[in-house]
Amino acid sequence: MYEKIDEVRETLKKYTPENMKERLPLLDSLLGLHYTAKAAVDIERARYITAHFKETEDLTLPMPVRRAGAVGRYLSNRKIYFHDDNMLGGATTGKALGAPLYPEFFGLSIWPELGTISTRKKNPQFLDKKDADILNFEVFPYWMERSISEEVRKVDPYRQSLLEKMIIYTISKAATISHTTPSYELVLEKGIKGILEEAREKQVEYGDDEEKSVFYHSVQIAMQGVLDYAANISREAALKARGETDPERKKNFQRIAEICKQVPANPAKNYHEAVNSLWICQVSVFAENSNMAINPGRLDQILYPYFIRDYESGELTIEDALKISGSLWFKIGDNVNLVPEAAEKLFGGAGAVPAVTLGGVDREGKNAVNELTYLLLKITELLPLRDPNVNARFHPEENLVEYRNEVSRVILTNKAIPAFFNDIQNIKTLVNQGETLEHARDYAVIGCVELGSPGRDYSASSSIFMMMYTILYMALHNGRTLITGEAPLWKATGNPDDFNSFEQFWQAYGAQTRFMAENAVALNNTYGEKHKEFLPTPLLSALFKGPMETGRDLICGGAIYNSSGVTHIGFPDVCDSLCAIKDICFDENNTSMRLSLAEFVTAVDNNFKGYPLLEAYLKNKAPKYGTDHPVAVDISRRLIELGYGVFNGQKNYRDGNYRVAYWTMTNHAGYGSVTGALPSGRKANLPFSSGITPVSQIDTALTTSLDAVAGLNSDEIPGAYALNMKFSPVECSPENADRFGSIVQTYMDNGGQQIQFNIQDYKTLKEARDDPESHPHLLVRVSGYSAYFNSLNRAMKDELIMRSQYDLSSGEFVPLI
C-alpha cells in the first residue's frame, strides 16, 4: 500500500515557492491573477431564479419541483466563462472573483448599498450600474415578502426580532443552507447520468407516494441542469479552442472540451476528469445553496484511485498532477460571500471557507496518508491561499511521524496552513454523537473546524451562534439585556445583591444559558421548518447518502445523520469573568481584592473608570483560563459541561442532535467592538478572545496554555473548537519541524482536539497593519479559517497582533512590548 510515497515525496522536493515561476509557470501566473482579482457581485443566478419563481407563481407546482426548475434553468442557461488559463472548466460566477447573490436568503441586505458597494472603503465588491438597476427593479421587489426571514417573522416575530438585534443569538439559516460536505465520490463513481437514471427508476417505483415521487422528479430536473452546464462548458471550450492561436491555450481548451463532454455526466476515468467532475458538482451546488462552507472533503482519499492509477501507468506526471490540483485550488477560491458594509466592517475578510481535509485514517482505522496527501500538501505550501481552508488530520497512533513533520514543515513555510486535527479524539467524539465507527473515521472538516461524515451527515454546523457575554450580562443584571428594555428578557434570575455565594450566581448563569439555548433552538427549528417548506435541496440531496434511498430531501431529514451546530462566542472572556467574580466577590480567603458583586458590576458597567486597583488586580492577579490556576481549571471545565448539557438532548427540525462548538471566525473581534466591559477586566469595545483560545497576553508557558485547553472534555465539544497559537518565526529546518510536530502531538496526546497557527511575530503584524503594502498577501489564521491580513478590519488586525506569541525553542511566552 502506498508504495510510491518515497518516490513521489522525492519528486515533490524539487518544487518550492522560490522556483515555482520557473518550474510551474502556470500556477505562478494564476497566483498573480488571484492576488490582483477584485471582488465583484454577480447577479446572473439571482436573475434566473427570480424569473423562474415569478413565472411559476400561479402554477400549482410542488415547491421541490419549482426550486429544482429554477436551479436547473440557471445551470442550463448560465453563460460560460474562462477567466484565465486554469486547466479546469466551470466557474462559480461570471467574475474572476465573484460574489453570487441569493435573494431568497439575505441578499436584499445590500439594497441600501446598491450605489456604494463598489466604492466602499473596506473590501468593495464591484457592482455594475446596470446590474444594480436590475436588482432594484426586477429582483429585490419580488423577494421583499418572500425571503426566508420574512417567512419566519410571520410565525415567530418575537424571536426573529431578537435575532435582528444580533447580540442575543444569531441563526445562520437566515442567510444560508450550507456548512456541509457532499459525497462527490458518488458522482465520480456513477456519473450524473447514473444518479439521474436512479432517480428516474425510483420515481417509477414510488409512483404512488406523492412526496417521494416529487423528490425524485425534482432530482432529475436539477441533475439535467448539471448535465447541460457541463455540456455548455464543453461546447464553449471547443469554440474557444478553434479561435485560439496560442498552441498551449488551444490545447488547454481542447482538453477542457473533451473532459467536460465526459464528466460529470459519466464516471471519471482519470485524475484530470475526476478533479474537473468534482469542481463542476461544487459549482452546481452553489446554484442551489449559498457558497458558504460547502466542502470538497477528503480530497486525498476521494481522488486517490484516479491519481495513483494514472501515476503508476505513466499517464500522469507529478508536474501535471500539481498543475491540475493547483488549478482546483484556484477554482475553489474563485468566489467570496456577498457582504453588506456593516458585516464587512465587523466580520470582513473571510472567504467562502470550503474545507479540504487531508490525512488521518481510513474507514478501517488504518493510516490513510498516501502519495496524493503529500502532493496536496505541496500545493498548500506553494499556494498560500485564503481558500480552500486546508486541514490535516493526524492520528498519533496510526500516522507516521514523517507525515506529522511534513505538515509541520508546510505550516512553518507558509506560516499559517494547514490546521491540525486530532483523529483519536475527533473520531471518539463523533462516535459519541451516534456515528458508526466506520463513518466517524471518515470524517471531514466542515468550514472552519467542524466535523462530519461526508455525504452522510447533513451537518448545518454553523446553525446557531450563542453570545456567551450576553448571557453573562443577563445573569449580572437580573435577566435584562442592554437593548431589550427594563424587564428581563426571559426570566429574572436575581440582582447582584441577591447572590450569597458563587454557586448561587452560577445557577443564575446556568438558567440564563438555558433560556437562551431554548429560544435559539426554537427559532433555528422554525427556520428549519421554513426551509423544508420553501427551500428544498434536491441537487444537494442527490449528492448525499440517504436521500436517494429514502426519497427524502436533506432538508427534511433524508441524510443518515442530521446534526446542527451551535458555536459560542466569548468562551475565554466569560470564563475569566466567572473566575474573577468567584475570586473577588465570593472567596473569603482573598484579602487583596474584595468587592460585593453589586460593586463589581458597577465597576464593569462604568468600564472600570475610577477603579484602577481593580483593573490592575484583574490584569495581574485574578485566575485566568489558560493557566493551571485551580479556579480557572474548574470553571473552564464546568462551562464546557454546562454548554453541552443545555444542548445535548435537544432535537433539531430533522430529529438530529445539536453539536456544541467553540469557533468564532471574526465574530469575536466584530462583536467585541460593540460590546461593553466584562468582569474579566476586558474593557469596552475590545475584541474577545478567538474560539477556545485563552485570552491574549497572559504570562504563562506554552505547555501550560496547551494543557489547559487539552484538559477540556472534547466529548462535550462535538462541534469542535478552534485553538489559535502564535509562534515566533523560525528557520524551517527538519529539527524545527520535528519540534513543532512533537508539541502538537503532545497536545493531542493530552486530549487536544484541534490547533492552528500563525508563525508571525508582533513586529511583522504591526508593520502589515500600519503599512499594508509592505505585506500585500500576508496570510493569517483567524479562528478556524484563513484570511489575507489586509482584508481584515482594524479590530481583527489588532486582535491578531495581541495574540500571545511563544518561542518554539523555549516554549516561553514573548510579551507584547
Partner: protein, 178 residues
C-alpha cells in the same frame, strides 16, 4: 394648507413649475440644515423632497411602481414621530400615480417601524455617506420592527434623493459633515 391642495385650479404646467420651485426650496433648506448645528428638521425635509420627487421625476417614481407600504420613523425620546405612506396619490391634472405622503404623526399598523435612539442617532444615520441599517442596529442607534426588507428599500430611496435633486456635491457635503 397642504401644498398639493394649493395647486388645485391651476394649469398643469404651472403645477409642475411650482412643484419644481418647491423642490428647489427644499434642496436649499436641506443644504442649510446639514451645515447647521440643529438638524431636527432634516428627516422631514428629506421626506417632503421624496414625496415631491415622486410626482415630477418619472425615473425616481419608477422605484415605487405598485409599491404599497407604510413606514413609521420615531425616536425613543419621543421627539421624532413621522410616517411615510406609499400609495396611489392624486395630484390635480396629474393622473393618480404611485406616490408617497408624509405625516407628522404615527400611523397605525405600519409595514416597518424604525426607532432611533434619539435625534442625534437619526441625523448621524441620515448624514452617513452610506446609511447602514445593520451597523445602526448593532451599535444600538436604531431598532426595527416589521419587515426589514422594506427598510432596506426605503434607505436606498433616501440615498437617491441628493442625486435626484441634482446637487452634485451633496453626498460630499454629507460625508464630510462633522
Amino acid at each position: 394648507m397642504d401644498f398639493l391642495r394649493s395647486l388645485e385650479g391651476i394649469s398643469k404646467n404651472l403645477q409642475k413649475y411650482l412643484i419644481k420651485y418647491r423642490l428647489k426650496r427644499l434642496k436649499r433648506a436641506i443644504e442649510k440644515e446639514i451645515t447647521g448645528d440643529v438638524l431636527d428638521k432634516l428627516l422631514f425635509l428629506l421626506l417632503k423632497a421624496m414625496s415631491l420627487l415622486f410626482i415630477v421625476d418619472k425615473e425616481y417614481r419608477k422605484n415605487i411602481e405598485d409599491f404599497r407600504a407604510t413606514y413609521v420613523i420615531c425616536s425613543e425620546d419621543k421627539k421624532i414621530d413621522v410616517s411615510a405612506v406609499f400609495k396611489k396619490i392624486t395630484v390635480p391634472f396629474f393622473t393618480r400615480e404611485d406616490g408617497m405622503t408624509v405625516k407628522d404623526t404615527i400611523v397605525e399598523n405600519p409595514t416597518t417601524t424604525v426607532t432611533f435612539k434619539d435625534g442625534k442617532a437619526m441625523v448621524e444615520f441620515l448624514l452617513s455617506a452610506s446609511p447602514d441599517v445593520i451597523a445602526g442596529m448593532l451599535n444600538n442607534q436604531l431598532s426595527v420592527s416589521g419587515n426589514l426588507n422594506y427598510l432596506f428599500k426605503f434607505v436606498y430611496l433616501l440615498w437617491l434623493i441628493p442625486e435626484r435633486l441634482g446637487i452634485n456635491d451633496f453626498k460630499e457635503v454629507l460625508s464630510h459633515h462633522r
